[in-house]
């Protein structure tokens, strides 16, 4: 579960966004859509903690785990500086991923790098022969990643950008509002907190069978021991804190208390 994984590819795919491929056959074999790994970005004590990243997809034959990441701070900057052949300590796969039913109709709503775990999910759903509609919003058209790959999976794809340079002009939630939600069994979503909150509000009005959201929170251990990654969730017994790392990162939209 903790591997010294060699970096097989490290490529800039947009301004500040990178894709890294790691040789970690056991993780590749076990990974499910929505799960994540925790990566050490330095072997020194600074920065200290591992960084969580969703599994963007795996190549089981070649034993590869792929991650999409954006440089937002020191850890990701150090990661982007690592060259091919270097080894990274990778811990995973971790967390409870998305529900993947054998059949049904599905919609996926991605904001920015939220596409990372959702792409893996879409791959899986399509491999099972299911219909998938993808709503995908990003700040600008350069940050609309993986479009060809999504096209190759033959999904219905709707995109949005803040300035309308590609697709709908507005947020992905505006887009969804404009297009209307297709009749689906499950709607999946991942993206920045404010987007998920707005989407949750919209879905409450819209009424939908089941919505699964992938959440993010700062993490310590990644395996449920430290209780650092608390998210408030409604239960029949009232609100409780659950752990994003093991109770999630995927939660039902309706159970999350947005604060």
């Amino acid at each position: 579960m903790v591997y010294e994984a060699e970096i097989v590819t490290q490529r800039k795919i947009a301004d500040g966004c990178y894709r890294i491929e790691l040789y970690a056959p056991e993780i590749a074999r076990a990974a499910q859509p929505g799960q994540f790994v925790m990566v050490r970005t330095s072997i020194t004590a600074d920065p200290l903690l591992r960084r969580p990243f969703s599994i963007n997809t795996v190549d089981r034959e070649r034993g590869l785990v792929k991650i999409l990441y954006r440089v937002v701070g020191r850890g990701t900057a150090l990661l982007a500086g690592k060259k091919l052949g270097r080894r990274l300590s990778v811990f995973g796969p971790l967390g409870k991923g998305f529900t993947v039913p054998p059949s049904g109709r599905f919609a996926v709503v991605a904001g920015g790098l939220g596409i990372a775990p959702l792409y893996f999910l879409v791959q899986r759903l399509r491999a099972l022969g299911n219909e998938v509609t993808v709503f995908y919003g990003a700040q600008n058209r350069y940050e609309l990643l993986l479009q060809e790959k999504l096209a190759a999976l033959r999904v219905r794809l709707f995109v949005a950008t803040d300035n309308g340079a590609a697709g709908f002009k507005g947020t992905v939630v505006d887009l969804l509002r404009a297009e209307g939600i297709p009749p689906v069994d499950i709607l999946y979503a991942a993206g920045p907190g404010p987007m998920l909150r707005a989407l949750a509000a919209f879905l409450r009005e819209a009424g939908i069978a089941r919505a699964e959201f992938s959440l993010e929170e700062r993490m310590g251990c990644g395996i449920g021991a430290c209780r650092g990654c608390a998210v408030k969730v409604i239960t029949p017994e009232g609100p409780v804190y659950k752990r994003v790392c093991v109770d999630g990162p995927v939660f039902l939209a309706e159970e999350v208390v947005w604060e």
Binding site: L48, R218, C221, I223, C226, R227, G228, A230, V246
Partner: protein, 307 residues
């Protein structure tokens, strides 16, 4: 030849000096898929209170230079859940268990301790530095008399289980508090708990933690922890569980030569989920390389060299 790693920690027989730091290893079971729990000296459980506690609002963690802040707020399922479900499970797995106890009153400490002792804990650790406790928010551990009173109350209900008292370094001099709790019946002390700290996002102009302040742990605090272990050992020769920033077997040996009989991995578990077992392996390797046949020779050894 493999060096001898067995240590006697105030009557608690540990197959090696490596234990876990309360709160960083859950109830052990969370780590069972990466670590063979029975291979450790002992597992120190997350601090348990009488009633379940929800903990503090998120964010609860912030990274700092070579360290981290946490403001978990003693989230735990309460003593009954631990006594009924968790302790038996750990015993079944052959794990040696040190149960960590906190309360809002002295009476609560005693009640929780008694319940955990009855449920099969091998030893108790009293967390005297938990926030939101009795006496107007004063920490039990920051004043020698209060610390002694808690210790006395727990000692009475703990039968012959070893009782360790966990101390921080803020407030009263740690040597005074250690001396007071030893006189009140503590079998040893656990050093150190987190230091107080704060992290702030200057652009958003507010503290990062939902609780504003938190506890600082990790390599950053190692020198302070070694200082505390050194002084308490020099003044009292009490059995000590040393912790604070241990990331490697070399770090563990630093605590041992300063006076620790056992060493706890805390924040280091997050950085390296297999740290505990790797500490055991590392101790074997380093001691063998230096020709040390028994780890016990090194306990407090730096005092003997420095007079």
């Amino acid at each position: 030849m493999k060096p001898e790693l067995f240590v006697d920690l105030a009557g608690l027989r540990l197959k090696n000096p490596v234990v876990t730091a309360s709160g960083t290893f859950g109830f052990g079971i969370e780590y069972a898929r990466v670590v063979d729990l029975a291979a450790l000296g002992a597992v120190v459980l997350k601090t348990v209170t009488l009633k379940p506690r929800q903990g503090n609002p998120p964010p609860r963690l912030a990274e700092t230079p070579a360290g981290m802040l946490n403001s978990i707020g003693l989230e735990n399922p309460g003593v009954e859940a631990v006594a009924q479900d968790i302790l038996p499970e750990l015993k079944r797995r052959g794990v040696k268990v040190i149960a960590s106890v906190a309360g809002e009153t002295i009476g609560e400490y005693a009640t929780v301790a008694e319940r955990l002792a009855a449920a099969g804990a091998d030893a108790l650790e009293l967390n005297l530095s938990c926030p939101n406790v009795g006496r107007g928010g004063l920490h039990f551990g920051s004043d020698p008399e209060t610390a002694a009173a808690v210790t006395r109350a727990v000692r009475q209900v703990a039968g012959n289980l070893p009782v360790f008292v966990k101390l921080g370094v803020m407030g009263a001099d740690v040597v005074k508090v250690a001396t007071a709790v030893a006189a009140a019946g503590a079998s040893g002390v656990s050093l150190i708990n987190t230091l107080p700290g704060l992290a702030v996002d200057w652009r958003r102009c507010r503290p990062i933690l939902g609780n504003i302040t938190g506890g600082l742990s990790g390599p950053a605090i190692k020198p302070v922890a070694l200082w505390a272990v050194w002084r308490v050992y020099a003044a009292t020769r009490l059995p000590i569980i040393g912790m604070g920033g241990i990331m490697s077997a070399a770090d563990a040996l630093e605590f041992i030569v300063c006076g620790a009989t056992a060493v706890a991995a805390g924040t280091g578990n997050f950085v390296n989920p297999r740290l505990t077992v790797e500490l055991v392996e590392g101790l074997n390797r380093l001691l063998a390389a230096e020709g040390v046949v028994d780890v016990k020779e090194l306990i407090g050894a730096a005092h003997r060299r420095s007079g």
